[in-house]
């Protein structure tokens, strides 16, 4: 007689390799490897020399910071289109305080005060956006689109009001040389690695001195935010709530998950990411521009999708978004090094990658929800 077959026997256990290639990040990971190899072959000497690494990682990490915010929010089932305008707003706010002092005549603004006050404002705006979304039940697409316009408009108006009609501020003092807090955002990091490279004889300029000092501080911010959010998402109670909220809001609520608070908190987190992005820019370049951050919200969402985040929520990972940001940042920055390709092809390429990724994600989602 045949041994009795149980239902659970139909769930075939898979080997380590099969499990590995079914991970959601695998698509983004292979894409990244292909692009790295391609760039190494066609332009390895410019892309992977010390300066190339610094510049690429600078673009990758600033995109990576906001992509993580966009990813967490998407896992919880919402979008934030106001990220780009929030970057412009935060940059404007910090630069104006640094130039003309604190509001209400409270005196000179230290970089710490400028950043903290700005963060309070952006978190408050994130809180308002979140509350409107969860209380009205309107699509976050529309609510945050409204804030895309509102914040950008406010940024321009404020600039013109205080800055004799100009929408740019330049020539701020170089705070990162004198102030440790400004150095945290605008300074350099991983200097030891580049010193090591120099000592090994790889990091030399034409005069034979050390060429590149270190990476931009935003790389360290990206790494820190990525590690923290990775732990939060995959290991903590809050992580479980974020997945539950995006997967099926009603069943999450029925089981006692504070769905609304999770969403509001994540809108505030994207505002935080945008503020860190802006602070890195302001303290690095000592300038601010009302147009900063334009279209960044779409790039952040695209990087999250390329990294395997499902548009409808409930599925995605930080590791995937890291790969997504690397793909986006690398292509955006490096195509310009390749003389025989028109630089604007990068948009064509990224659009194609985005579409492929969206198809692949949908496929994964169907495979899981379709079930038996």
């Amino acid at each position: 007689m045949q041994a009795e077959r149980k239902e659970s026997d139909r769930q075939v256990s898979q080997g380590a390799f099969r499990k590995f290639i079914r991970r959601p990040e695998i698509g983004a990971f292979s894409g990244m490897v292909v692009i790295l190899l391609f760039l190494a072959i066609v332009a390895g000497d410019v892309v992977f020399n010390p300066l190339g690494i610094k510049n690429n990682l600078s673009i990758i990490s600033q995109l990576g910071i906001i992509a993580i915010g966009a990813c967490l929010l998407m896992i919880a089932g919402e979008f934030d289109l106001s990220i780009g305008s929030m970057i412009g707003f935060a940059g404007m706010s910090m630069a104006m305080m640094l130039k003309w002092g604190l509001p209400f005549g409270l005196g000179e603004a230290s970089p710490f005060m400028a950043f903290t006050l700005t963060l309070c404002m952006t978190l408050f705006i994130g809180w308002i956006i979140g509350n409107i979304v969860v209380r009205s039940g309107l699509s976050s697409f529309i609510v945050t689109l409204a804030f895309l316009f509102i914040l950008r408009g406010l940024t321009e108006v404020s600039f013109r009001e205080f800055n004799e009609g100009s929408t740019q501020i330049s020539g701020l003092p170089d705070f990162k040389e004198t102030d440790f807090f400004a150095y945290l955002f605008g300074g350099e990091t991983f200097k030891w690695a580049f010193t090591l490279l120099y000592e090994m004889g790889y990091n030399l300029n034409r005069l034979g001195n050390q060429w590149v000092i270190g990476l931009d501080a935003k790389v360290a911010w990206w790494i820190c935010i990525a590690i923290i959010t990775y732990i939060v998402l995959s290991r903590t109670q809050l992580g479980n709530w974020i997945y539950a909220t995006g997967d099926n809001k009603e069943s999450a609520r029925a089981n006692g998950v504070p769905v609304n608070q999770v969403k509001i908190g994540l809108f505030m987190f994207t505002a935080f990411c945008a503020t860190v992005f802006a602070a890195c820019q302001v303290f690095d370049t000592n300038t601010a521009d009302a147009a900063k951050g334009n279209l960044k919200e779409l790039e952040a969402i695209a990087a999250a999708v390329v990294g395997g985040t499902v548009m409808t929520g409930g599925f995605g990972s930080i590791v995937g978004v890291i790969f997504g940001a690397v793909i986006f940042g690398l292509v955006q920055n490096s195509v310009f090094y390749i003389s025989w390709i028109d630089g604007s092809y990068y948009r064509v390429f990224l659009g194609t990658v985005l579409l492929i990724a969206a198809f692949a994600n949908e496929n994964i989602r169907k495979r899981i929800t379709g079930g038996i």
Partner: protein, 263 residues
């Protein structure tokens, strides 16, 4: 006739519910005993859903009282009902398809260490408990990390029931657990219900349309029609014809056959 000696866990006395001018329930009495399956039967619109929503705290009754363990209780919200030990497994099961079995099991009630909500989940412990609790009522999931979306309907029912019991349900309300399932899956769910019954201390309210299913596992019956109880009794006190007649809202089968014959 073997009468149950135990006291009822829950008594409903004269439960009425009006929605504006519409009388959904008109004085319903019901006794629910531990270790028994109590089948709640009735046609569409008979008031079954309203009754379980009152029991699970979603609606408040317009009149009448709910007595749990000899004490009258008032449920202002589902949370009150669940604190009193009433666990409801709705048809949608409140499961998340993309999440793993153990993450679903502990959704909203995670085991963690550290300050909430940033406390680190004890994933190992959660996996083990999930696995053990599901084995108790008869399903051995090989992989607690499997997504719920890949489970069969019967397995999902079991997961939802195991979760309700683990989190303290003494009165388990199952809202048509066998509808929308295939034949074999239905039998799995009935087996699960039997195993829960065998635990001895849990009262099960089993809502169904299916006469055969109720005959297979119910110890006690209550029949609703147009918001009133039209019959009730133990398995021994009702025979097959009674059950069939009461399920049809009191109509005699012979009359029905005659009516059909005339057409």
């Amino acid at each position: 006739m073997a009468e149950t000696v135990a006291e009822p866990l829950v008594k409903l006395r004269g439960i009425a519910k009006k929605f504006g001018p519409f009388v959904a329930l008109n004085g319903v009495d019901m006794d629910i005993y531990p270790g028994e399956v109590h089948a709640l039967l009735g046609d569409n619109g008979a008031g079954k859903s309203t009754l379980i929503k009152i029991l699970s705290g979603v609606h408040q009754p317009s009149a009448g009282e709910i007595i749990v363990d000899e004490k009258p209780v008032v449920f202002r919200s589902p949370r009150d009902a669940s604190a009193a030990g009433i666990g409801t497994v709705y048809q949608d099961l409140a499961l998340n398809q993309l999440m793993s079995v153990s993450r679903n099991f502990f959704m909203g009630r995670e085991i963690f260490k550290g300050p909430p909500p940033f406390g680190m989940m004890k994933l190992k412990e959660m996996d083990i408990i999930t696995h053990d609790e599901m084995i108790k009522i008869g399903i051995d999931i090989s992989d607690p990390h499997q997504a719920v979306g890949t489970m069969s309907g019967g397995q999902r029912q079991t997961l939802a029931i195991a979760r309700a019991i683990y989190f303290g349900a003494k009165i388990l309300i199952l809202d048509e657990p066998t509808s929308a399932l295939g034949q074999k899956q239905q039998m799995e769910v009935l087996k699960t219900i039997k195993r829960v019954r065998a635990l001895g201390n849990i009262a099960i309210i089993f809502i169904t349309h299916n006469e055969i299913h109720s005959k297979l596992i119910a110890d006690r019956y209550t029949f609703l029609s147009l918001g009133e109880v039209i019959g009730s009794g133990t398995r021994e006190s009702l025979d097959g014809n009674d059950i069939r007649r009461l399920m049809a809202g009191g109509a005699e089968m012979a009359d029905l056959e005659m009516e059909l014959g005339k057409i």
